[in-house]
Each structure stands twice: as structure tokens, then as C-alpha cells.
Symmetry: C2
Subunit: 231 residues, 2 copies
DNA sequence: TAGATTGTTAATCGATTAACAATC
DNA sequence: TAGATTGTTAATCGATTAACAATC
């Protein structure tokens, strides 16, 4: 049942749940295209190696309702997750920094399917300005604030070099942008009302490289032990 | 003090700690280049909006030691985190899929500084094979397993379209690769000893788009209230 | 020395897991 | 109906925060 906080949209969803929702979503989309109509938490839990009760709680956050003995309609789940994550409405976004990473993001097809449409790119380099990257026009950086305001853009993506990131962020704030997805390795200073998400690709590398380093270490030690103890 | 599990490398570090370490790292590198020699957890906590005790516990995982009343040597911290995350040794990696995202990753300078060196790219497209992308040679996909084994490559990066991802993963496993960083929206089936890290860029979008959606909703509701109650 | 800071142990908080009644 | 599954409440587990002794 919905409580007072819920109805005001003030419930804070647990971070781990928020991170799992896209995983459910992808899984459910696969089920959907395989023609599956209903699914139970037990099955989801098995397939994704998660506790079924956890799955149920996670999904409950989206407001979806299931039928005892039956399960959930796959289509309901997909729709509810989309709504919950705001993927049903398209967010128009501006991207600043048309370098390698910026270009890749401009051509990343999954974004469109998940409510993100990058409508224009901005760069300071005159050689890039005016060109098209993946069908998106590259415009002069100085025009960002004016255009953002005129077009009511809410979301900005920063893929410029670190030294330029703060200035770009200032431009975005000035243009009325409310949320920034920052790929530059810089802590941006913005008004507290602006949502910033830092996304350093190498951050994700931490878990993988730590695990790999540990794994290799263990193997080396095992090797040494085996050699020493001749067992 | 190090316990038995630690010494065998079996302690599992909390996920949240692992996610915060790169943040400390970047912060500390900045301090370092600003010429700062020592730092206290109190200061770190203030600057990064984290509880100082948490900072202390996180850092303790790396085995670093501080001096009461003084703090930690910045250079110690940087080095210990690098060691802990395996960023002090370069991991040579193969990348499969020389498309937009693959090319961007090939040119991402931060990787090198964090222990990741992509030494070659692989693709099936004959038009790409033989060319150089950011100085890295693109080779035929079929040669991946043999080369990986010959060169002792441990890490593979998958940036191919979803339909090809499983086959590429099989190639990598066949070539003796032990950890896979998978950018394709597919759950890979690999032997349990292989470490897989799934990295869908749009996953990260979830938190941001949810927050933005909620924010806009709240604002709309506020607007309505204001209008209705003429307050 | 006095006070700031580390390292560590205890208390709290929140997320995960278990238990179970409701129900199709 | 019987049994599987949902929704929810209680128990457990682990991470965060608080408290405090040791120490430079």
C-alpha cells in the first residue's frame, strides 16, 4: 500500500534496488521477446542468482502487482520499471565534448530506448563545429546556455577534458539544465539543486582489476605452496 | 592487524568500499599534485561528504597506516590504493569489437594510468581488420584465442553487438582469458572461474533518470498545488 | 602537556533473508 | 481442493556511525 511519503514521491529507494532494476529490465525484455507472458519471482531469482524475496521487494517499489499462484505479467513489469526509471518519457539531452568518448555516446543506440535522446553536441574546436556526428550537429560551446534554455533541455552530458569540465558545467547550469552526467574526472561545483552523477569509466575497473589481482595472487601462492610442499 | 583470512587473500572487501576507493584515489591524486604531503580522515570526510570513521575503515582495507595527531602520508595512500586495486601492475587486455564504443575505449587515456593497457583490438569486419585505431592494430577475430594464449593475456573487453557477444566470450575463454569486461547487453555463459563484469552504460543512467523524473514530478505537483490553493 | 587524530570496539541503522498468512 | 506464489511482517546479517582508548 502507498504511504504518505510515497504519494508525495519522497520515498527514497535503496541504492542497491536502483542498481538491480536495469538488470531485471533487460532480463524481462528478453523474456518478452521470447514470447513469455507471465513470470514468478522464484524464476527471476533463479535466473539472476538473487533471493526471490528480494526480487519481490525490488519490484514492489515500482508499484507493480502480481497474482498469487500466477506471478507477474511480463509486460506489466516492463512498463512499470520504465515508468519508475523515467524511461517511458524521452529526456532530451545536450552533450558537451565531441571527442572519442562523446562521439561514442552520440552513437550509443541503447540510450534512445532508455529515455535518453542526445539532441546536439557542443565543442570548442572550430574544426568540429558544424559537422555531424552520428547524425547529431556539433555546435559552438558558447551557444549551449541559450539553446538549452530555449529548448527546455533538462539533462547535460559532459565528456570534455578535465580542465574544461567546470566551465561547461557552469554553462549548463546557466542554461537551466537540472541533471548532469559527468564523465570527466572532476568534482563539479554546482548548486545543490542540480543532480550530478559522476561516471568515470575507470571507476568500474576497480572491482574487476582488484578481483583479477587477487585471483592471480592466489594462484601464484598456490603454485608456490604446491612447489614447496611437494603435495 | 592482518588476520589469517587476510594473509591468504580471502577477505572479501565490502562492495561499497570498493566503489569508494577510486573516489579517494582521484581526490588524493589531486592533493598530491597540489603538493599536499599529509591528510587526515576528517579532512577527507569533509571534502568528500563521507563519515570520517568510514574513510578510516575504507583506507585500512588497503593496509595503509597513519600517525595519530598527524594523519596519513598522501603518497602512502596513493600507493596503497594502487596496489590494492592492482593499478600498479599493467594488465594487458584484448578488446573485441572495434565499433564506436570500442574505439572510444581504445583511446581512453585514463585506462593506462589505472593498470589497463589495451594492446590489440579484434573485429570480424574485413574493412576494419589491419587498420590502426588510436595506435592499436585491429586483427581478425579468429586469431584472438591463439594470440591471447601466446601473449598470456588475462583480460578481455567485449564491445561487439549483443548477438556476437557469447561467441566472443567463448573465444576469450578458449584463449585463457580470466576476466571479461562486458559492454554488451547479454548475460554471458562462461566457466565459474572466469570473472565477468557487466558494464551497460545505460545501467548508470537508471539512477540519474529516476532522480530527474522524480524531481520533475515533484516540481509539477508543487506547481499544481500552488495553482489550486492559490497560496 | 594538551589536543588532534588514529585504530578499534560497541551501537545503530538499513538491507537481505526467512517465515508465514492471504489468495488465486 | 491443494499447492504455488504473492505480499508482508519478523529475524538476521552486514555496513555505517558513534564512542573511546591509545598515541604522537
Amino acid at each position: 500500500m502507498e504511504n504518505a511519503a510515497d504519494s508525495k514521491g519522497l520515498t527514497t529507494i535503496p541504492e542497491p534496488t536502483l542498481r538491480r532494476l536495469p538488470i531485471y529490465y533487460q532480463y524481462l525484455r528478453n523474456l518478452e521477446s521470447a514470447g513469455k507472458k507471465v513470470i514468478s519471482c522464484t524464476t527471476i531469482g533463479n535466473d539472476l542468482s538473487l533471493d526471490p524475496t528480494q526480487v519481490r521487494k525490488d519490484l514492489a517499489h515500482t508499484g507493480v502487482e502480481g497474482k498469487p499462484k500466477v506471478g507477474y505479467m511480463v509486460s506489466d513489469l516492463v512498463r512499470k520499471i520504465e515508468e519508475f526509471l523515467g524511461w517511458n518519457k524521452i529526456n532530451a539531452a545536450f552533450l558537451a565534448g565531441a571527442g572519442n568518448l562523446g562521439s561514442a555516446l552520440l552513437g550509443y543506440p541503447q540510450f534512445r530506448e532508455h529515455g535518453l535522446s542526445i539532441v546536439a553536441a557542443f565543442d570548442r574546436d572550430p574544426a568540429k563545429v558544424g559537422s555531424l556526428i552520428h547524425g547529431k550537429r556539433v555546435l559552438p560551446l558558447e551557444t549551449l546556455p541559450g539553446l538549452a534554455r530555449r529548448m527546455g533541455i533538462r539533462l547535460g552530458i559532459i565528456t570534455v577534458p578535465p580542465a574544461a569540465a567546470q566551465e561547461v558545467a557552469d554553462f549548463m547550469v546557466q542554461g537551466g539544465i537540472q541533471a548532469i552526467w559527468n564523465f570527466a574526472p572532476v568534482m563539479l561545483k554546482v548548486p545543490s539543486s542540480i543532480v550530478v552523477r559522476n561516471e568515470e569509466l575507470y571507476y568500474s575497473l576497480a572491482a574487476l582489476s582488484h578481483t583479477l589481482a587477487k585471483k592471480l595472487n592466489v594462484e601464484i601462492k598456490k603454485g608456490e605452496e604446491g612447489y614447496a610442499s611437494s603435495n
